[in-house]
């Protein structure tokens, strides 16, 4: 009896990496869901690799930073900070500022990520704008650890692959890819529309839209996102009653 248990346990641990019918289906779904991210990440990653290499850094740093940092816009900022030999406290402060929007992403997945066991850390680490958006676009039945982990993993592989290609061979891409990173904007637009349609109260979407446009107009492109998100959260808390009433009213009808 003991012996049997011991023989069975390794299988249950590694089942995720065995190719069964179910895991194949999950990989296919994960790939399908991440095609837009692939378009964006491969080519933005290449742009990052090219810039890093042009700034005089060894190509290996492109892959290393995409593996360890994995934050699109901040990696571009990092190149200019490192080129100017910025001090570590300055680099740290800039990173916290540029990535402050990530503070708000985890709030929607605190309970969900508890189901991931050992993969919890990777799920938190890899919660980029794009992975967050793909997760938001999943239906409740699709939000399984098996599928979400594969989505997170595929997204980062596109980013690392793109960075490495850009750093090693960026100059030889045979066709004009200008504008292909618009796939990311389009992904956000599509998921915004789906979020709009799945909520009966449109207040959260309207608040987010108005607050970001307003702060963009007042503070400019580099500084608007944190004040905008803080204001959004404050307004959402103030309007909690009407929003909840609207959502629940719809459900009871």
């Amino acid at each position: 009896m003991r012996l049997n248990e011991r023989q069975e346990s390794p299988q249950t641990i590694s089942v995720d990496f065995l190719i069964t019918k179910d895991t194949m289906k999950d990989w296919k779904t994960a790939f399908y869901k991440t095609i837009p991210v692939m378009c964006g990440y491969l080519f933005l990653g290449m742009a990052f690799g090219i810039l890093l290499q042009q700034a005089g850094f060894s190509p290996i740093w492109a892959a290393v930073s995409s593996l360890l940092v994995y934050a699109g816009s901040m990696q571009f900022v990092m190149i200019s900070l490192m080129s100017s030999g910025a001090s570590l406290p300055l680099i740290g402060a800039m990173t916290l500022l540029v990535n402050s929007r990530h503070l708000f992403y985890g709030l929607s997945f605190i309970e969900k990520f508890r189901e991931f066991g050992k993969k919890w850390f990777y799920m938190v680490f890899s919660l980029t704008d794009e992975t967050y958006s793909v997760f938001c676009g999943l239906s409740d039945t699709e939000k399984t650890p098996a599928l979400m982990f594969k989505i997170a993993l595929l997204d980062q592989s596109y980013w690392v692959l793109g960075s490495a290609i850009g750093a090693l061979a960026g100059a030889v891409i045979p066709f004009d890819t200008t504008g292909i990173d618009f796939a990311m904007t389009a992904l956000f637009v599509v998921i915004f529309i789906e979020q709009w349609q799945s909520f009966s109260s449109h207040l959260p979407a309207i608040i987010g839209l108005c607050s970001s446009v307003l702060f963009l107009a007042i503070l400019g492109a580099d500084q608007f996102i944190l004040p905008s998100l803080v204001t959004t959260v404050l307004l959402l808390m103030m309007l909690r009653d009407p929003i909840v009433r609207r959502e629940e009213g719809e459900r009871n009808e």
């Binding site: 929007r101 389009a186 959260p204």
Partner: protein, 108 residues
Amino acid sequence: MNDTYILVAVLTVALCTLATRMTPFLLLGRKKELPPPVRYLGSVLPPAIMATLVVYCLKTINFSEISNFLPSLLGVTATAALHLWKKNTLLSICCGTVVYMVLVQAVF
């Protein structure tokens, strides 16, 4: 360029990025039951954040130059219109992106 400096700089960016992603989980993840205000925020933030991300992507457009804002505007319109009509995520994103690429590469 000094390799130690680069490595420490990359690690600093990595740790600070992780800190921003980890904070909500560290602050609130231990409790068995999420406080109701947090659960509420977690459920209503996604549409607000998606709106913010769309604006974030378009933050550099400049309305004083047609060649600057028209491709983005038409790309977003094409994506949204197609999605409202056909509800096919990939189709909307591909067509929207192609519209944008053609406009920035060939027209403007």
